[in-house]
Symmetry: C2
Subunit: 342 residues, 2 copies
């Protein structure tokens, strides 16, 4: 039974575990430094579909299939599916879930959705609600660019602070099989808006939200950076990542080597020209499910504070002169499910 | 502690109750049959703001304020806020929650959002997660029309099957004070798509989803239409409402007088020219919080099956020739919190 220890943090007591996880990505992500980690890599950005939006739904289905396969789980044993994506009306998720009979809780947290959905699935399972609960999200470079910035065919020039939306999806299925990775605690974020108005500088908009959530998580749980092997944000990229380090340095805290960001990990900064790094719900989802969870499962990593960050950026409202609200949710994932050693 | 009794239905065991609820609407909704029920009615569709989107965020803030006021609840005592709306990137909610410090779980369920958010808030409270949890949603006629169909200034003609998006918001705050209205059970829906492609016929797209969820809820809980005073959908309108009746008639079940729809209740069919009735997240939210919850609180109504329906309709994907996926979530709200009599 989950315990709300205050200010957004919920501690698990029955140690729900991630029993299945899968990732699916596009060609460019497959050519990146983590390429060999992903379960499914397609050379076809369209994933056999006639539009980018439909391609994104197909991408989600691949990630879900891989998660079911790895966990030896029947799709019908997923009691509740928490899913969302970047597209208007979250169509990536709505169309991927269409007519499959899964009980669907639609979420919108922009690029924070993987942490949001994993938090909800973990809380449900920690309280015994369902056999398995799924967390699923995706992004697609082409569907995101044309929705948030310019259509690909326009050929707009990207400034150095711009991030590259990953064509990727990740799915985690939470159950209670008593094997790592365990979800130990989550911190639900609050909306922070420090006045950034530039849709090509999402990292700067999101860094203060990541700072707020991570700091709150430390305070609520009595932990410190040293409590974790890896403090992983997704997706601040190079600009936002540096800002986050600076914000902690102002408090006298050096995140040091244990800090990394999914947007910095998914692409090669030298060989792949993505400017400030990767972004998109699918970036953190695929890095988590393709690279991080296997390392926790094998014991290579012990305690990871996965903090996905979302810029709740609306082109309509930005054009009205408003700034970008951001949010971050944190999930502590561990190879240790022993509550007394927690 | 909530019990998942299978196939999407979760029964509450500690009987969370709705301790505060508030509603806010525009002029036209204030002139409708339920006008006197709403806590806040504005003559100004812009709610003092410079855009329809910002007006919608302001509308949410009014509903939240009224809910806090009625429940004598401090905003800071809301541990988690579940909110969403119809706008792209759910900006109605993101901007209304900006910088208020509330822990925010963003949802997207289109017009099903009030039932979705109330379900999540109830599950959290039934498991003791937080002091209070909020459920909040909104819609605005002008922001919705220009996003989903045509800008108001275009003067497009609406066919008879079109529904009128209500300018309205509702907020329910769930706690554990042991007074009605109680949330007794929820059924999370699954995405149903029967092939409707007409954005001006949402009722037809949503009726099969409402049918599926209500039928599932009956089967899972061992209840029947007679178990409820009121089976309330929102917002199928006149077209979708008739379809729902027909779908049940095919099973030999006459929903009869106990069936109603928020979209049929909020506007006067004769005096207010809204064609097929009201719609929008805010329609069911404001009818629930303005009209239904007070009647359960006072004992005038005993058992209501509140079933909000959402058309997860994307103009982008509809233009690609796709049909409209729909979903419905059901919440059983009662004046009876005695588990043995349930």
């Amino acid at each position: 039974m989950s315990v709300h220890i205050g200010n957004g943090t919920i501690e698990m007591t029955s140690m729900p575990s991630i029993v299945g996880f899968g990732s699916a990505v596009g060609r460019m992500e497959g050519e990146g430094p983590l390429g060999s980690c992903f379960d499914y890599v397609s050379d076809d950005s369209g994933f056999g579909e006639s539009s980018w939006e439909k391609a994104e739904s197909r991408l989600q289905q691949h990630a879900l299939e891989q998660a079911l396969l790895r966990g030896s789980i029947a799709e019908s044993d997923i009691s509740f599916m928490f899913a969302g994506d970047l597209l208007n009306q979250c169509t990536g998720s709505a169309y991927s879930m269409r007519n499959n009979g899964l009980r669907f809780v639609g979420l919108y947290g922009a690029c924070s959705t993987m942490a949001e959905s994993l938090s909800m699935a973990s809380v449900f399972m920690d309280n015994g609600i369902g056999k398995y609960c799924g967390a699923l999200t995706s992004s697609h470079f082409c569907s995101a660019e044309r929705q948030f910035r310019f259509p690909e065919t326009y050929g707009g020039q990207r400034p150095p602070s711009a991030q590259w939306t990953a064509t990727a999806s990740g799915c985690a299925i939470v159950g209670a099989h008593g094997q790592p990775p365990y979800v130990r605690a989550v911190t639900v974020g609050t909306i922070i808006d420090m006045g950034i108005k530039d849709a090509n500088n999402m990292g700067a908009a999101m860094a203060p939200a990541a700072y707020d959530t991570i700091k709150t998580h430390f305070a609520n749980t009595g932990t410190a950076p040293e409590s974790y092997d890896l403090i992983l944000t997704g997706d601040l990229g190079y600009v936002g990542g540096e800002l986050l380090r600076d914000l902690f340095l102002q408090d006298g805290i050096d995140l040091g080597e244990r800090y990394n960001d999914c947007g910095m990990m998914i692409f090669d900064r030298e060989k792949q020209d993505v400017h400030a790094g990767g972004s998109g719900c699918g970036c953190s989802a695929s890095v988590l499910c393709g690279h991080i969870l296997p390392r926790i499962q094998s014991g290579e990593a012990h305690n990871v504070l996965f903090t996905a960050t979302g810029a709740l950026m609306s082109p309509t409202v930005i054009q009205q002169g408003e700034s970008i609200p951001a949010i971050a949710h944190a999930v502590h994932i561990s190879d240790n499910g022993n509550i007394t050693e927690g």
